[in-house]
């Protein structure tokens, strides 16, 4: 093999294929991530609905670079009151996925539970007016239509009532979710 580049390439290709099979192909057959939960169904927005357009605005403006949509069953997330732990099926229709990797800002998985439309709109236009000290840039350059759509999308990020009740029972939390 120390003399045959083709042999090196073939073995390298085989090893690569194993990794793809294990971490990319096999998951295709996993029900847990490939069938939608009831809350996941809520994110199956009709084409050209305000929520679907708002999701585009979210992506185009790079919201996902600072905000995750990814709640874990861990103290860091439960103590931050992030809401129900997210499941694979919640993301069935989340394409391109918006899981995110960095929380420069808070998680937005269930942000629709936490504020109303007016707050969201005000916060997008002037973040420091609702959250003093925030380092979120202002999105006042968006058109009214874009802002409406984006707010509609953010407000849609909610679990079903049952999921929420179940969660509240689980963590024995009677107070409403408010993440300042």
């Amino acid at each position: 093999m120390e003399r045959k580049p083709s042999a090196v390439l073939i073995v390298a290709l085989i090893l690569w294929t194993f990794g793809v099979a294990g971490t990319v192909i096999l998951p295709l057959f996993d029900q847990e991530i490939n069938s939608a939960t009831a809350s996941g169904e809520l994110r199956n927005y009709p084409e050209d609905s305000a929520e679907a357009r708002g999701r585009e605005v979210y992506i185009q403006n790079g919201c996902q670079t600072c905000h995750t949509q990814f709640v874990r069953a861990l103290p860091a997330d439960t103590n931050q009151n992030l809401g129900p732990v997210s499941q694979g099926g919640d993301y069935k229709y989340d394409l391109p996925h918006l899981l995110g990797s960095n929380r420069t800002g808070p998680d937005l998985m269930w942000v629709g539970l936490k504020y109303n439309e007016d707050w969201q709109r005000q916060h997008l236009i002037d973040p420091q007016s609702t959250s003093p000290g925030s380092i979120m840039p202002s999105f006042d350059y968006l058109s009214n239509q874009e802002l409406d759509d984006l707010v509609a999308y953010l407000m849609s990020l909610k679990p079903t009532e049952e999921r929420l009740e179940e969660y509240k029972k689980e963590i024995n939390l009677e107070k409403p979710l408010d993440n300042n």
Partner: protein, 457 residues
């Protein structure tokens, strides 16, 4: 139209790479500064999200990848004892590659993104970039094909593997979203690219560079051929499996998580094999790092590589991940491999190769020293700010400190990061200036020589 001059591909890829490190790092510095002054240059085009994406994509696929290709256009023919298959094609691929990068850069500024980290360019750019990478790989495979040296030195293994893996991995990660059955599935595919752009391209070409440079710079043979084989095959076997750890503790089934975490820890084996080999080769040569800047860059690179690879498996432990995931820590870690380890080895490669190509020493030794110290000290300030910030932030979240308050707590660290980042950025101007001067003087000297020869003849 495209020059056929010997080593012109290598030289031109290097020049383009250094141009892009300046652009790519200005985007990085702007990102860091926006975390202090959010309204700085905030508009539809250069809003935070766009600038951050552009930074990531440019430093990886413009700066580092072009520096890698530049290195390979020199190292591969040297190791194969032949010439580049086609310098013309190499130069053509460079122009094409740069046009594609420029398209991707503007696409990101206009808000077109695929969201996938390390694969954010939109599909129409991805396809073109794949063709450009294919042209480079074809040219270099052909070069190996016409070799006159029968033995394949270990660097060649790494280069061949990387040139095969990058395009394949690129396809998996950038697979069109509408053909993927679910968001988490796409997450797994995206992180397959996210991790293997590092594992099977940045790491493997970088390690190949070090294997080439060390014996050249120290004048000593490689410590162990056996170890280099173990290291290569262990990386090839285990790195591919690392993607899922990016979704750890998250919405993936337990078995996928384990399939990602275990190989991440096993990776300690190749890292040990590779580093033992590097440092074994260095035995008795460490004093040379005082005088040789390329050697010092290489060794600093190996040390940062070690730390990145100690952090990696540690971070893949679910307990550690539960504290530092999503914090500033990750950003610090994400810079150690690409900047601390492999940008450093690429700097070393440029300082070693460029003088050989243009036929004259680097113009300024002092500029090289400044480049090294600003890069190193800047990176340490940058990284430690982020690591400390990450741990503080992680525990504050666990304690249930309100989120906004944790943002305020981060202020001094975010400033520290920007200061370190400024130093890292300034350092690159020493590189660019030194390169410019060297190439210009070399041209001048050649002309004078030719004139003298003409006069005496």
């Amino acid at each position: 139209m495209f020059t056929d001059e010997k080593w012109s591909s290598s030289k031109n890829w290097f020049i383009a790479a250094v141009f892009w490190i300046i652009i790519g790092m200005s985007m990085g510095l702007l990102t860091a500064t926006k975390q202090i002054w959010p309204e700085l240059l905030n508009n539809r085009w250069t809003t935070y999200g766009h600038v951050r994406s552009a930074h990531v994509m440019l430093v990886i696929y413009a700066w580092l990848s072009m520096a890698y290709v530049g290195s390979m256009f020199y190292m591969i023919p040297k190791l194969a004892k032949t010439k580049v298959y086609s310098e013309k094609l190499g130069n053509f691929a460079l122009v094409f590659y740069n046009i594609v990068i420029l398209e991707g850069f503007f696409a990101l500024l206009f808000g077109q993104t695929e969201v996938i980290e390390y694969g954010e360019f939109p599909l129409w750019v991805d396809v073109q970039l794949l063709v450009a990478i294919g042209l480079v790989a074809y040219n270099l495979f052909k070069t190996v094909g016409q070799r006159t040296e029968k033995m394949l030195y270990v660097s060649l293994w790494y280069f061949l593997g990387s040139l095969l893996w990058l395009p394949l991995t690129w396809i998996v990660g950038n697979f069109p979203a509408q053909w993927i059955p679910s968001g988490v599935q796409q997450g797994l595919m995206g992180w397959f690219l996210g991790h293997n752009a590092i594992g099977l391209w940045m790491t493997t070409v970088g390690v190949g560079q070090i294997y080439y440079l060390l014996p050249k710079l120290t004048g000593r043979p490689l410590y162990s051929h056996q170890l280099s084989m173990i290291g290569f095959w262990a990386i090839a076997t285990f790195y591919v499996w690392n993607g899922p750890h990016h979704l750890m503790n998250g919405p993936i089934p337990g078995w996928i998580s384990k399939a990602g975490v275990i190989p991440s820890i096993v990776l300690l084996i190749p890292v040990w094999a590779v580093l033992a080999n590097f440092w074994g080769t260095m035995k008795g040569s460490w004093a040379q790092t005082r005088t040789s800047v390329p050697l010092r860059f290489t060794m600093a690179g190996t040390i940062f590589y070690l730390f990145a690879c100690l952090q990696g498996p540690l971070q893949a432990l679910p307990s550690v991940s539960s504290v530092i995931k999503f914090t500033h820590w990750t950003v610090g870690h994400a810079h150690m491999g690409p900047f601390g380890a492999f940008s450093f080895t690429s700097f070393a490669a440029i300082y070693y190769i460029l003088p050989k190509i243009v036929g004259r020493e680097m113009f300024s030794k002092r500029a090289m020293e400044a480049h090294f110290w600003f890069s190193t000290v800047g990176f340490l300030v940058f990284a430690f700010s982020l690591w400390i910030a990450g741990v503080v932030q992680g525990f504050a979240w666990i304690e249930g400190v309100p989120f906004l308050q944790t943002v305020l707590m981060m202020e001094p660290y975010v400033q520290g990061r920007a200061i370190g980042g400024t130093m890292m950025y300034v350092a690159q101007f020493f590189l660019a200036w030194n390169m410019y001067k060297t190439i210009k003087l070399a041209k001048l000297e050649k002309k004078q020589q030719a004139q003298q020869q003409a006069a005496t003849a």
